[in-house]
């Protein structure tokens, strides 16, 4: 009896590992093909499948540039928008979350519930009204229309509140008050340094969300020199019959590889951050 139980257990483990391996292959192969094909010439890509990189990276980049698709410009545009979005999101969301964790005020409960409701509301569906309003203010085709709304980022506030609640900071705040620090000063000099891990996690998510954001940029930004990377990706589509495949794969790889590098460095923060963003109550 004991041996069959053990045998079944081993069999089950083998089965589980096989399933995990299959899922891993499904997860990685598309990304791997993308990166490999970015280094292969169009002729090589048309000749057949390969999982090994080739030597045509620079050539592919020249083709992209010669087609008037400035990935470098798009890259720096995306970087600017993403960094500004990250700073705005982290500062204002932490400030709002701090207010909810540290102070007692009338309507606090209501405001907390309101944040949760906002997380669940499909705000993107008001993009047309948003566009119309921005065009009256003269802010269309302006990165401000992509960055400023993040002052009120409900998901980030929710995350910040969960994070700050898990830290015990009341004693430190009281001590700083005795030393005569102002309330905003305490937020800047006592809380922010302590909350760096949480702020970093929030920042990574804000950066990735902005970097990947296609829809809003697509509606709001119109001049070609202001295009962000996802908007340039849209133009990476030759006709089916004669296309520079290598260059197209390279263009896609340029948008994706930076995020993979960020993930390789910060994956632990990111994975623990996801769990914290989910509701616990």
């Amino acid at each position: 009896m004991r041996t069959t139980y053990k045998f079944n257990s081993i069999l089950m483990r083998v089965f589980v590992y096989i399933v995990l391996l299959i899922l891993l292959v499904i997860t990685i192969v598309p990304i791997w093909l993308l990166i490999v094909n970015a280094t292969r010439s169009t002729v090589e890509i048309q000749q057949g499948l390969s999982l090994l990189p080739s030597t045509h990276l620079v050539e592919n980049y020249r083709i992209l540039v010669s087609k008037g698709i400035s990935m470098a410009q798009g890259f720096s545009n995306s970087l600017f928008v993403a960094v500004a979005s990250t700073v705005i999101t982290v500062y204002f969301s932490m400030l709002t979350a701090y207010a909810l964790v540290v102070y007692d005020f009338k309507g606090k409960e209501l405001f907390s519930n309101f944040i949760i409701v906002l997380v669940m509301i499909p705000m993107q569906l008001s993009i047309i009204g948003f566009f119309h309003y921005m065009s009256r203010l003269g802010l269309t085709d302006n990165y401000a229309s992509l960055i400023l709304p993040l002052i009120a980022n409900a998901g980030a506030v929710f995350f910040g509140k969960q994070y700050l609640e898990s830290m015990v900071i009341h004693e430190l705040i009281d001590a700083a008050r005795i030393d005569g620090a102002s309330e905003l000063g305490i937020f800047h000099t006592v809380m922010m340094p302590l909350a760096i891990p949480g702020a970093a996690t929030m920042g990574i998510f804000a950066f990735v969300a902005s970097w990947n954001n296609f829809f809003n940029a697509f509606v709001l930004i119109s001049s070609f020199d202001k295009y962000t990377l996802p908007m340039l990706v849209r133009t990476l589509r030759g006709d089916v019959y004669r296309t520079e495949y290598g260059a197209i794969y390279l263009g896609l790889a340029i948008t994706i590889v930076p995020i993979i590098i960020i993930y390789a460095i910060f994956s632990r923060y990111i994975v623990s951050g996801i769990a914290m963003g989910a509701m616990k109550e």
């Binding site: 598309p30 409701v117 569906l125 047309i128 119309h132």
Partner: protein, 297 residues
């Protein structure tokens, strides 16, 4: 009053003021503006617009496009959500199982999560290239003898829908695993120990302990996935010609809204009415799920 007798609580209002102002200006007002526009015939070209009552909404229901978009969006979301939650649940159970003792859970999980961070627009373009006529999938299938000759995958309704659903699943199952595991590891072990003493089977423990205690997490996954799914745009848009081809079979709510917005005249009144209806539908469903399934204690 805090224990030093200095009242600081008005600072709470001060510190949430930027959020509230930001919400009023960039959140609430656009919603109201969208609603207002939906009752007008505003276009991008015209300076003037007039109030036309419910005409935009009547037109939406008069042609089949709107209902088609709503149906498509639901179909694409449901077909992705069921395998997403199913496989994620299975993996979470395996990863947390004391009997299986899977090695390097953190690494598996981190790898499965990776697609979620990648740009959906680029991923859809990638799959467009992979499944194109001269693309790697055709090459592989012809070489392996699965297909006699290369096929136009993206001209087939079921295949195109299948690819959209697959990409969504591929991008989200890893994230669902992480959230489910966070919920599972938060369940006190003594509950399982007590159940084991009473002779409960693995399945019984899952039904009676894991599932009920995971309910808040499941509701969270359900609601956020639904809200995201109803606004699906990047993947079907980039995978097709921007109109949800073939024959509008992957045209989602947001694609229809964008098509009205970007039409030659720029019917932003009509586009707003799509936004308003989908907004109401999604919010009602999300709130409904949240309040009816929530623990009432």
């Amino acid at each position: 009053m805090n224990r030093f007798g200095i009242r600081k609580d008005y600072h709470g209002y001060l510190f949430i003021t930027p959020f509230i102002l930001g919400f009023l200006v960039f959140g609430l007002y656009p919603v109201i503006n969208t609603l207002t526009l939906s009752f007008t015939d505003t276009t991008l070209m015209s300076r003037e617009a007039s109030f036309i009552g419910l005409k935009n909404f009547q037109r939406l229901f008069a042609d089949d496009f709107f209902m088609k978009a709503v149906r498509n969006t639901w179909v694409l979301w449901i077909l992705n959500f069921i395998p997403q939650i199913g496989i994620a649940m299975l993996l979470s159970i395996w990863f947390t199982s004391a009997r299986l003792r899977i090695r390097a859970v953190g690494i598996w999980r981190a790898l499965f999560y990776l697609p979620n961070l990648l740009m959906p627009a680029a991923i859809a373009r990638l799959f467009f290239s992979l499944f194109s006529f001269y693309g790697p999938v055709n090459q592989f299938m012809v070489q392996a003898g699965i297909l006699g000759e290369a096929m136009h995958f993206l001209q087939d309704i079921s295949v195109t829908r299948g690819i959209v659903v697959f990409i969504q699943w591929w991008m989200w199952f890893g994230q669902t695993v992480i959230i489910l595991m966070a919920g599972m590891t938060a369940i006190p072990i003594h509950l399982y120990e007590a159940a084991m003493v009473d002779g409960a089977s693995g399945f019984q423990m899952f039904r009676r302990i894991t599932l009920p205690l995971l309910k808040p997490i499941l509701i969270f996954i359900f609601v956020t996935s639904l809200v995201g799914g109803m606004q699906m745009f990047d993947i079907p848009y980039m995978l097709t010609d921007g109109r949800g081809s073939p024959v509008y079979s992957t045209m989602t709510n947001n694609i229809l809204m964008y098509m009205k917005f970007s039409s030659s005249k720029g019917h932003i009144g009509a586009a707003s009415s799509v936004g308003v209806l989908v907004f109401i539908m999604t919010s009602l469903c999300a709130m409904g799920i949240f309040y009816f399934l929530r623990e009432r204690d």
